[in-house]
């Protein structure tokens, strides 16, 4: 990274064109990788692998294209809080749906209750 690029950081938040191009290339490779692994069967790991690649691509977009890497702490917090609430939304929803079978009374036919 040259001195002019570093100056651009402090001034406006952002990076040089080379870094943007590298991120763009990495995202395209990630897309190819997504398609490639989808054609193979990893059993229960199919979805975790697909999500791991998607999360890596998402992190690249967030940090570099959306400039979060060069943003202030308060912007970091605002961005992170969105995903914290997303985890809360998913965790509470799924802890209901995925545990309904655990109690026999709910999974038993209606007439036997």
């Amino acid at each position: 990274m040259s001195a002019t690029h570093d100056a651009a950081h402090s001034d406006h938040g952002g990076a040089g064109l080379k870094l943007y191009f590298a991120v763009f290339a990495a995202l395209l490779v990630g897309t190819w990788l997504t398609v490639w692994v989808a054609g193979r069967d990893f059993g229960v790991w199919n979805t975790p692998i697909a999500l791991a690649i998607a999360c890596t691509k998402a992190a690249l977009v967030l940090l570099y294209f959306m400039h979060v890497r060069w943003s202030s702490r308060v912007v970091w917090m605002a961005a992170a809080i969105g995903f914290v609430f997303l985890v809360i939304l998913l965790a509470f929803t799924l802890s209901d749906y995925f545990t309904r079978d655990w109690l026999e009374i709910y999974s038993a036919p209606l007439k036997s209750r």
Partner: protein, 218 residues
């Protein structure tokens, strides 16, 4: 528009300096994006619940989608994010024609994405894959595959709707760029629109494997 800046250049009167103004713009945009994360998050939650309830139907229904078109669209959308970031870069350097050019490159790529989406939707229409009374899956009416297609159309439809709005904002920005509105420091509109555009890209990065590729290995 110049009234909102009090006629004293790019700095609004209620901010101390341009840096504070820029920080406030960024934070405000992120507050909006947090609501967007949860807006799409509700649909993702519905997707997880129904996919775990009907895994076979979801895999079979997913195989009706074209992963080549989906993959091309993913590359096109990532390309549009790249041109958007170049537009933001040009705006930081206050290069009017570069801003205009990269904004239009982004608009063209975004429109290409929507064009491919139209081809895909049309194919689903022809093959009776729209949920409702005319739904047919492998010749059979009804079935749990409808749940997949209901989620497919609501998730990709909401995503495409965001892109239409984004493209409209980009056209507006390109006009402002030519009028010289980004010639002075402290104009953050291109950068804030960039945050929105990249967020829409972010959503698609998850939609592509979750909708197009989940039954491919069978």
């Amino acid at each position: 528009m110049s009234d909102s800046y009090g006629g004293h250049g790019a700095l609004a009167h209620h901010f101390e300096d341009l840096e504070q103004q820029r920080e406030a713009h960024t934070l405000g945009m992120w507050a909006f994006l947090v609501t967007e994360i949860l807006f799409f998050g509700g649909l993702f939650a519905a997707y997880v619940v129904y996919r775990s309830a009907y895994p076979e139907a979801f895999a079979n229904a997913s195989n009706q989608l074209d992963p080549v078109l989906g993959g091309i669209n993913t590359a096109v959308l990532i390309g549009s994010s790249f041109t958007m970031v170049l537009a933001v870069h040009a705006a930081q350097q206050r290069r009017k024609w570069a801003i205009f050019g990269w904004l239009w490159a982004t608009i063209v790529l975004g429109t290409a994405f929507l064009g491919v989406k139209y081809v895909e939707y049309h194919h689903k229409w022809e093959h009776h894959l729209i949920p409702g009374p005319n739904f047919l899956f492998e010749g059979q009416p009804g079935g749990s595959e409808q749940l997949f297609f209901a989620l497919y159309f609501s998730m990709t439809g909401l995503h495409a709707f965001h892109m239409v709005i984004g493209a409209g904002i980009l056209v507006w920005l390109s006009v402002l760029a030519l009028k010289g509105r980004f010639d002075e420091p402290g104009r953050n509109a291109v950068e804030m629109t960039g945050l929105y555009w990249h967020f829409v890209d972010l959503v698609w990065i998850f939609l592509f494997p979750l909708l197009y590729l989940l039954g491919r290995h069978q």
